[in-house]
């Protein structure tokens, strides 16, 4: 079992965490840390690769916004790079990253994964709107979530959480080295580091931090409660969505507004192709072909191949889907891509008894029969 270290925040969460991360850099445990930092403009919070401990002043890891699933950033960071790096990421990001590792897109060997507790995120525009006139939004957000906000309607501090997060069974990042715990503790008093893996425990020793076997007392029950709420919401959402889309007509209806922008697949951390097959020659139809379709069917909605695209993508990656919801966030026409994929993924993942984001020792979903 892991060890816990409580860090006193005295009201400044980010400062407290920055101290520990700074020590990781100082003691040479890692040579850089990838961590969400506030950007000067519109208070955007973006993943930032920090080399200089001074620059940690701007970190905001618990900020309730995820402009992109950083799995692919982390994968890129670890590809052909032997220097040890730490990455501060959420559950959906860790799980997606591990899938990419299985597909040889990244490497976990020299990576110290610091998983943060996640109460969910806002859609970008909502976050910007809130952050524009809320001082220390992150702390306020954590405090109100801890007191049970968002339970029924998902609205927190006046804005709704992303639906993907409200359906997420994983508020706590699972396969990580170090866990940054905010659930079940009063973050104005303290946050907790949980040293999970061998690698994490070694870091703890190097940092010479005091530790104990017990974590925050209220943590387990708080997590359980959160998971229960979310799973209930998930089941209700998916059931409703399934009944809407249990025919091809339903599916066609849901994706009717698709414009083949492929934003969903660009945003998707599991869609790892360099170039999607739908932008290759295979799907480049000449006018004659399009005319033929229109002729034979009487009418042809354009652009074409939208259902084909979404169903093919399901066949390709629904087994790897971690449900982060970036696809829905990226869609310009508000297609519920996340709901669509999760409703398929629950079937395909069950069929092959595959849990994406599980440990690296498991086989990949894609592998199947090999020689």
């Amino acid at each position: 079992m892991g060890q816990y270290t409580a860090i006193q925040t005295e009201g400044h969460i980010n400062q407290a965490i920055a101290d520990v991360l700074g020590k990781l850099l100082d003691k040479g445990v890692v040579s850089a840390v990838l961590v969400p930092c506030q950007q000067p403009h519109r208070k955007a919070v973006m993943q930032t690769l920090v080399r200089d401990p001074e620059a940690l002043a701007h970190i905001d890891p618990f900020a309730p916004v995820v402009p992109t699933n950083s799995a692919r950033l982390v994968a890129t960071l670890t590809h052909h790079n032997d220097a040890p790096v730490a990455a501060v990421v959420r559950s959906c990001e860790v799980r997606a990253f591990l899938e990419l590792v299985k597909l040889h897109q990244g490497c976990a060997d020299n990576l110290l994964i610091i998983g943060i507790d996640c109460y969910g995120r806002y859609e970008n525009k909502d976050y910007f709107a809130l952050a524009a006139h809320q001082e220390d939004l992150t702390t306020r957000f954590l405090m109100s979530m801890a007191s049970g906000a968002g339970g029924s309607d998902g609205v927190v501090l006046g804005a709704p959480l992303a639906n993907a997060c409200r359906m997420c069974e994983y508020p706590v990042a699972e396969p990580v080295d170090i866990r940054l715990c905010a659930i079940g503790t009063d973050v104005t008093q303290q946050v907790w580091f949980e040293w999970v893996s061998e690698k994490g425990l070694r870091a703890m020793e190097t940092l010479a931090l005091p530790s104990q076997e017990q974590g925050p007392q209220a943590r387990e029950s708080a997590i359980a409660k959160l998971r229960k709420e979310r799973m209930a919401h998930r089941d209700a959402e998916l059931a409703a969505f399934r009944s809407k889309t249990d025919t091809m007509t339903g599916l066609a209806d849901v994706v009717a507004a698709c414009i083949n922008c492929y934003n969903c697949r660009v945003a998707c951390p599991a869609c790892y192709c360099k170039e999607c097959v739908f932008v290759t020659d295979t799907f480049r139809h000449d006018g004659e072909q399009v005319m033929r379709w229109a002729f034979h069917r009487g009418h042809l909605k354009m652009p074409t191949d939208t259902v084909f695209f979404h169903v093919t993508r399901m066949l390709h990656m629904s087994t790897l889907c971690v449900g982060c919801g970036q696809c829905s966030s990226a869609c310009p026409n508000d297609i519920p891509v996340m709901e669509l994929f999760r409703s398929v993924a629950e079937r395909t993942q069950a069929r092959f008894a595959y849990v994406p984001g599980s440990l690296l020792t498991r086989k990949t979903a894609a592998g199947g029969v090999s020689r």
């Binding site: 066609a252 069917r297 084909f308 093919t312 066949l315």
Partner: protein
């Protein structure tokens, strides 16, 4: 269509070494079967990309038949097992949107089983008549 009995449209992706040869044998043996099936020759059932199945349904097929070698007899060692896995995946996804499992058949037919080929096609045609037309192409254009 309303007047005539519904005639399902079946696209068959057949392994060159077994089911395709069995189809040839069915011909040589003059076994009569419904004309609903149209054959596309593949080198192995493991070559059948799920996209081909999807494309067939989207273009108006009422059923898709993938014919491979019996387990252990694959000309390419185990391509048929890969096909089996892909078909399982497709069944899950297609069924989610109301496309019945019985519209996508994966069957093992050895080169010497002309009879089995004819029987399979006959049975599949019958089953698809029961299921009626597949509305995919009508409802989800290309």
């Amino acid at each position: 269509m309303s007047e005539k009995q519904f005639e399902p449209n079946i696209v068959a992706f057949l392994c060159n070494w077994c089911t395709f040869t069995a189809a040839d044998l069915a011909g040589t043996s003059r076994l009569i079967y419904p004309s609903n099936v149209k054959i596309i020759r593949m080198m192995c059932s493991g070559m059948v990309d799920p996209k081909y199945v999807l494309k067939s349904f989207l273009e108006g097929a009422d059923g898709v038949f993938i014919g491979g070698c019996w387990p252990g007899d694959c000309h390419y060692i185990n391509g048929n097992m890969k096909a089996r896995r892909r078909v399982a995946l497709m069944h899950e996804v297609l069924e989610r949107f109301g496309i019945e499992r019985d519209r996508l058949w994966l069957r093992w037919v050895a080169a010497s089983e002309g009879n089995a080929f004819a029987d399979t096609v006959t049975a599949m045609t019958g089953r698809l008549k029961e299921l009626g037309p597949c509305r995919v192409s009508r409802e989800a254009v290309a």
